[in-house]
Amino acid sequence: MSVTQELVAPPAPSGWRRALGKARSNPTTAVGVVICVIIMLAAVLAPWLAPYDPAEQDIFNRLQPPSADFLLGTDQFGRDILSRLMWGGQISLTVSLGAIFAAAIIGGAIGLVSGYIGGRFDLLVMQVMDVLLSFPSLILGLIVVALLGPELINLVVAIALTAIAPFARVARAPTLALKERAFVEAGRALGFSHTRVLFRHILPNILSEVMVMGTLWLATAVRVEASLSFIGLGVKPPTATWGGMTRDGFENILDAPWLAVFPGIAILFLVLGLNMVGDGLRDATDPKLRNE
């Protein structure tokens, strides 16, 4: 390793690795990971594992209770609930992962640049973020989807929009502290451009916080997507979505209560699993708790 590299390199990311190790030994995180992996596998492998075609209607088997033929019963069109749940998981996961990925990149970049530049610019940007935060996220998502139309990509945009401001805040705070550190000054003294210092030296140091935040917000994103679908603003039928299935079940709640219960449980488990993983990661990366 050359002298310059040694001088300029940020502290080794051992904190992040140690956090991962610690999170692995935490039973909550382990259970959360298992729940998430099972749901993801069921969704991804739906084309091969699902017992029926999710859109296939069978009028002779309408509103069947759970049985050996239909493990979780059928809906008002005779479609198999289990198959629809597996396919619906794809929508939930695609929308939430897409939205959080976009929000983390856009919000993270805003926070990073705003914190690094500082001064009036920073003040203005954070003011705009505060205004974004003063909208209830579900209402903002609702209106954006309603205006743009209920397409998959618009759901991603709407949910990402509600999550940008929190990511900007999380990226900004450590940037403010890091830019005063010796390795940043050294990098600048060596003639590195601002862009290089920002992305090669500051970014790696805030990545773990952004990623922990991402896991926790993923849980929120799943919940918001399901809520929008429940309201009727999700991906359009006949595509199966968990929120939409819960709504269908709710309309038939007197005849077939299981219709609303199974998709509801699916949403609950995915959100719970993600919260458990996010919680474990946060506890493991929180410096205040690290020494316990």
Partner: protein, 313 residues
Amino acid sequence: MIGFVLRRLLAAVPTLIAVLTLVFIIVRIVPGDPALVILGDQATPEAIAALHVRLGLDRSLWAQYFSFISSALMGDFGVSMVTGRSITAEVAAVLPHTIDLTLASMVFGVAVGVPVGIWAALNRNGVVDVAARVLSLLGLSFPVFVSGIFLLLAFSLHWRWFPVIGASDLSDYGDRLHKLVLPTVALGLIMAAYITRVTRSAMLQSLGEDYIRTARAKGVPWRRVVWVHGLRNASIPIVTVVGLYVGILLGNSVLTEIVFNRPGLGKIIVGALNQRDYTMLQGLMVIYCFLIVVVNLITDLLYGVIDPRVKAE
């Protein structure tokens, strides 16, 4: 104190104007002509032009912007594109239902979350603490419509303790409370879970401070040390979370109102979405934000009441 309140009130005005501007922009960048949406594809150009005049869309953007901001600050959000009735009046008619629900859920969240959080903090890593942690994680993973449907299935359809229909007569307080129980629990569950966690960690921190040891050394009874010395110092983060989550409660009240078939802002917003009532949506967004700005203001004022050091700054 009055100076403090006035300063905070003045500080809220720029935020409100910024919110109004953002709402104005969001509604304007939507593709498509609202007049065309209302009248349909078959509309004649004359009819569209006439509707533009009626909606004020023929004026310049600046003129529209200033008249929107000035009338909104006076509490006038115009008329609904669909019904032609005043938005302020339509909202005022159902607002009590939404406020009932939001306030009741907030009280439920605090009444459950604070004692459980303190209990968990006092039994750190004990059975109660672990149970509180697991249950609060479960509670905050429940989407409101899922907890609502589960409660409805159990307590309205299976045991028949509570009515299925949530619309109540505002003047009959007993009826109003009875119909509020299930929606409140459904909506307040997440709040209770969050408050439990925040109270637990804030209490753990405050109970480790020197003044707690001093109080105990002086011989102050333990109960008083916990509830007065400990809780008062832990209450800033708790108040912060309550304030932040009122926004989430307001958003989630839309779902609660659908599940329990209650009148309220949520019902109006869903109706406006289905009918593409842009002026109504615009007005509702402002009203939601206004409610949140007011809550933030109250939170700020409470900081001053709880901690005299805040007011002095």
